[in-house]
Amino acid sequence: MIEKLFLTLATLALLHAAYSTYEHLSLLKALGKPEGSLPLDIVYESILALILGLLGASLNAPPLKDITWASEMKKRTIDGMDSRLGFAHYKSRGKFLFASPHDAKI
């Protein structure tokens, strides 16, 4: 929950800083001195947005998975490893076992 809050705040702060920069530059252009420096609070706002965004993205990451081969093997089953699907028999009792009663024609 808090991760999404951080991410939203960071995005809003960044957009706000960007808009303020645009407004400030238009103001400078109107005043005739386009070389003016950016006010510090916009800089602080963008850095804050960066930090909040980093925190939010790290906390929002999906849960970590194991990388060892042994842990992957723990999740498999013998039936999966021995299934030999290329040689599987498709004429089986499945037709009778899984058919619902009303479409059985015995």
Binding site: M73, K74, G80, L85, G86, A88, K91, G94, K95
Partner: protein
């Protein structure tokens, strides 16, 4: 059950090669009804193929025909589609028709792996095991790296009680996939069945090594063996210690400290069956296992 979770399940089944046809059919039908296949692109066709095979398995040939029509319309001359048509034919037509169909395709292109496998499968299913065996031996000679072929060969030999030949086929599997503990377990159990106990113990312990090896932080006493590790410990316990003169047909040297090994295996099995599952329930079969490991050696 949402579309997303259904697709995820289908993808997991595809990755793990499981043959859970009923579940695949249920999930796949949901995706089909919500016409989710079009959005997936290339993956959609593999999923559709998976649904086709599952519906044939479950007996819902109407859905199978529908999916097959969709696939065949989109991929006119594909060998993979030919294979699917063959499988559909196997489900309803007599086996001779299917065999003739496969023979026609193999005449045109004799290296068609999928069709050759289907042919061998039909031969085995209709009882012509020797013919299937000969074809399969030719097949694995031609396509050495096909693990499925070697596994099927091992299975056919084991079903005819020729465990030595089965073990030889499994040794090729082990060469091809040395990192897979399941095949080592299968080889160990085959060796055990053909009474080559030294080799069997060696392989059972290899399985334990492969599956339980990342317990370096915890003490060995604290870790519970799970899954196929338990099966491997079963192979090491009890019976082996009785046969003092372990004659091994593969000339494997007998393991030293057999009694200690027996003790260790017994202790590991006790630990495995003592752990309680959810809600504190007792492991199934715990009493039988405890009784078995406690019987004195005759």
């Amino acid at each position: 059950m949402s579309l997303q979770s259904a697709l995820e399940r289908l993808a997991t089944y595809r990755a793990n090669n499981t043959r859970a046809s009923q579940d695949i059919f249920r999930n796949g039908l949901l995706v089909l009804q919500k016409s989710g296949f079009k959005k997936l692109g290339d993956d959609g066709w593999t999923t559709l193929e998976q649904l086709t095979l599952a519906s044939i398995d479950v007996g819902r040939l109407d859905i199978a025909d529908q999916c097959l029509q969709l696939i065949a319309d989109n991929f006119p001359n594909s060998p993979r589609v030919d294979c699917l048509i063959g499988i559909r034919m196997e489900a309803t037509e007599p086996p001779e028709t299917a065999l003739k169909y496969y023979a026609d395709i193999l005449e045109a292109d004799s290296a068609n792996v999928a069709i050759w496998k289907r042919r061998i499968s039909v031969l085995r299913r209709t009882g012509k095991v020797e013919k299937a065996l000969n074809e399969l031996v030719q097949f694995v000679d031609t396509f050495y790296t096909d693990v499925e072929g070697w596994l099927e060969l091992a299975d056919i030999y084991a079903s005819c009680n020729q465990y030595d030949h089965s073990f030889q086929a499994l040794s090729h599997v082990l060469l091809l996939t040395p990192q897979n503990p399941f095949y080592v377990l299968q080889a160990a159990e085959t060796a055990y069945t053909s009474e080559d106990f030294s080799l069997a113990i060696k392989m059972f312990l290899t399985v334990v090594d492969m599956t339980d090896a990342d317990d370096s932080e915890q003490l060995l006493q604290e870790s519970t063996p799970l899954g196929i590790t338990v099966r491997a410990w079963f192979g090491c316990a009890r019976r082996i210690a009785q046969n003092a003169n372990l004659k091994s047909s593969s000339n494997t040297s007998a393991p030293k400290n057999l009694e200690l090994l027996d003790e260790l295996a017994t202790e590991r099995l006790r630990v495995a069956y003592s752990s309680s599952g959810q809600k504190g329930e007792i492991a199934k079969g715990r009493q039988e296992v405890f009784a078995w490991v406690a019987t004195p050696l005759a």
